[in-house]
Homo-oligomer: 238 residues x 2
């Protein structure tokens, strides 16, 4: 039997169906946007050996035939360049340039903002082999117990919602962030963060009247409900 042609190492919890990495979601949605089949391989923090040939130790890692590509942004650029006849992720060179800005904004503002509200909720979803590593590495980063990191989140979530205002202002004008006619990679970048939270936490990041909430619902419906079908804690529907 031939080996599967396209594989993605995809972070999971103790339950191999619990796929919560925001960066892996960016890659999975980029692959779906390109209409490319992929087999996702459950990967845990302790599985460093499985991706050692990528030259680094984090997922997503894409294997496309003989090519090994690590890092969600590099995967998106690789897919755009390797499959130019498929639907574009960027909508031209200007869109690719500014999608990088959306990526740096999400990594600098959105992801840390979400982590400060839900990071402790990840722990119960991890298997014993990952839990000690995850807690120790994150507590070192924050300099305090993860329960303290998320303490007072009901009071602090307003700051996070305020920080999402640049996206909200765009979504008041049109249904998608990255494209006039449909979602683009910029949408997958930002959605990845919300899907990460949704998979591990029931904490409400968004209010139902927020344009971001409606957009998140549209994103969950894309590609036959690819993201909506994923095991998740947040049942708000949007």
């Amino acid at each position: 039997m031939a080996a599967p042609r396209r594989l993605l190492h995809d972070l999971c919890g103790a339950d191999p169906a619990r796929r919560f990495s925001p960066y892996c979601w960016r890659a999975k949605l980029a692959l779906a946007h390109k209409g490319l089949e992929v087999e996702t391989l459950p990967w845990r923090f302790s599985d460093k050996a499985a991706i050692a040939d990528s030259g680094q130790d984090r997922v997503p890692v894409l294997r496309d035939g003989d090519r090994v590509v690590a890092d969600s942004w590099r995967i998106a650029e690789y897919l755009e360049d390797a499959y130019p006849d498929r639907p574009s992720l960027f909508g031209g060179p200007g869109g690719r340039a500014l999608a990088r800005f959306v990526n740096t904004w999400a990594d600098a503002v959105q992801i840390p903002g979400i982590a400060g509200l839900v990071v402790a909720d990840i722990v119960p979803h991890l298997g014993p082999e990952d839990r000690a590593y995850f807690v120790a590495s994150r507590e070192r980063r924050y300099g305090k117990p993860l329960a303290e990191v998320i303490a007072g989140r009901e009071q602090r979530v307003g700051q996070f919602r305020q920080a999402m205002h640049p996206v909200r202002m765009v979504l008041r004008e049109r249904p998608w962030l990255g494209g006039a006619d449909g979602p683009a990679y910029a949408d997958y970048i930002v959605f990845g963060g919300f899907q990460w939270a949704r998979c591990v936490s029931a904490f409400p990041l968004l209010t139902p009247d927020d344009p971001l909430h409606g957009w998140r619902g549209r994103m969950l419906d894309l590609f036959g409900g690819l993201a909506r079908r994923a095991p998740a804690e947040d049942r708000s529907g949007g």
Copy 2:
């Protein structure tokens, strides 16, 4: 003598050469990017009548033949659509879509951040006819005297620099924000805010080792030094 074909109403201070509006700078650089000659008309907050036919009361307002276009974003879209054979401001549909996100980010994060550090420095540049209006309207917005708004700015500027991190991360990788090969409208959006500050204040928003400082210097040099030649308070060179 025929009337000039293309005019821009451009905010100025008591000195008609002191042009400090961030939104007018976006429009002037967009016009220069398109290689379009324009006559800029000094405009003051008290000159509402001069732009009444634009249906609103703020600048920039562009007059291009019979067309009257208000709002810097609308002007950029107008120029892109009306002059498609000139160099593109957006680099394709994806770039236009995401330039709107850069615009909302700048308006929600960068402009308020800069205002909180330099707004009181605008006042001495205003003529008597504008000063009372400006101070009253801004003090109403902030709920306190403008001297108090900028108080402690030496301690707070670090927060502003931190908020610029998404742009900085891009500029560590390449020389321009909006394009791979040269500046695009996204660069003019963000530069407009820095040029606003530079025209009215000597307060150092950026440190010389910041990639944003080098980028600002490149922006000042564009179009024969269009922005560098403008009367300014900040002499840092970048």
